[in-house]
């Protein structure tokens, strides 16, 4: 399955392309953003899946919110990695939902801890995940705004 082969790195030839192509949400800093989103998509999905499959009745509110968060992270990862005009609009929407979600659920979890006997990704504004869930949608929205302000592709000669 997993075969580590440090001896054969697929190192790209050092061609002269120092600047990432503009308009691509997955290039440059976006590459890191997509990587972090992918990790959250995977971990939130796995967590929600295990929680709902094994002990849904224990904390139904928390586990349903975990599932919502998982879907939002999956959509954000996919749309940021695709990066077309339509995908960017969906990405803005999912990052906005994510920011609203982490703020709402964070506040809710502090105001009404009884509804959250078990943690979600967004509990305490993402404190269980080093507050990355709080920072991530802000970075996502800033990055999308930055990309949207640039021309989509270097204009081919018309």
């Amino acid at each position: 399955m997993a075969s580590p082969e440090p001896a054969a790195p697929p190192e790209p030839a050092p061609s002269a392309e120092p600047v990432p192509r503009p308009g691509l949400t997955r290039s440059g800093p976006g590459r890191v953003l997509v990587a972090v989103y992918a990790i959250f998509a995977l971990s939130a999905t796995a967590r929600a899946g295990v929680q709902i499959a094994t002990k849904f009745g224990h904390a139904p509110v928390a586990y349903a919110l975990s599932a919502v968060a998982a879907v939002v992270y999956i959509v954000a990862t996919a749309t940021l990695a695709t990066g077309g005009p339509a995908a960017r609009r969906v990405a803005v929407l999912s990052c906005s939902v994510e920011l609203a979600g982490v703020l709402a659920v964070g506040t809710w979890s502090l105001a009404d801890p009884a509804s959250f006997p078990d943690a979600t990704v967004w509990s305490g504004y993402g404190s269980g995940y080093g507050y990355v869930p709080l920072v991530l949608p802000v970075l996502g929205l800033l990055w999308l705004r930055h990309v949207n302000r640039r021309p989509a592709t270097p204009a081919p000669s018309r």
Partner: protein
């Protein structure tokens, strides 16, 4: 079973060191290089060794509170350096090494989570 404690600690240190080195490369505006990919390979080998040790422990009859979660971690763990290497190598700017830094940090965090899932795995 000393190694179920030593290997995770080694992975935490290796992951953090890899992240620091990769972020230095980003700060110096370097692209992905052979050293970073080799370091990722070392991290991968360490993770595979740990998986072997944990599977041996499971085969010995010991069980954590949530076996399903543990097995999920065992499946996901070795994919982290592979995915990061692939995704980072596609990037031809300073942000390629930054992806590798994320993988190093994730490996370190995974060790802490593993310990929470199954305290028999030390850090």
């Amino acid at each position: 079973m000393w190694s179920v404690n030593v290997v995770p600690t080694t992975i935490v240190i290796a992951g953090l060191a890899l992240a620091a080195y990769a972020l230095l490369m980003t700060a110096l505006n370097r692209r992905m290089g052979g050293i970073l990919l080799a370091a990722l390979g070392v991290l991968e080998i360490l993770l595979l060794v740990l998986i072997g040790l944990v599977v041996a422990k499971l085969a010995g009859g010991e069980r954590p509170a949530s076996t399903g979660t543990l097995i999920g971690y065992l499946i996901a763990m070795p994919l982290v350096p592979l995915a990061a290497g692939f995704w980072g190598a596609l990037e031809r700017s300073r942000w390629g090494p930054a992806v590798i830094a994320v993988a190093g940090l994730v490996a370190a965090v995974l060790m802490v989570r593993l310990h929470e899932i199954w305290p028999a795995i030390g850090v």
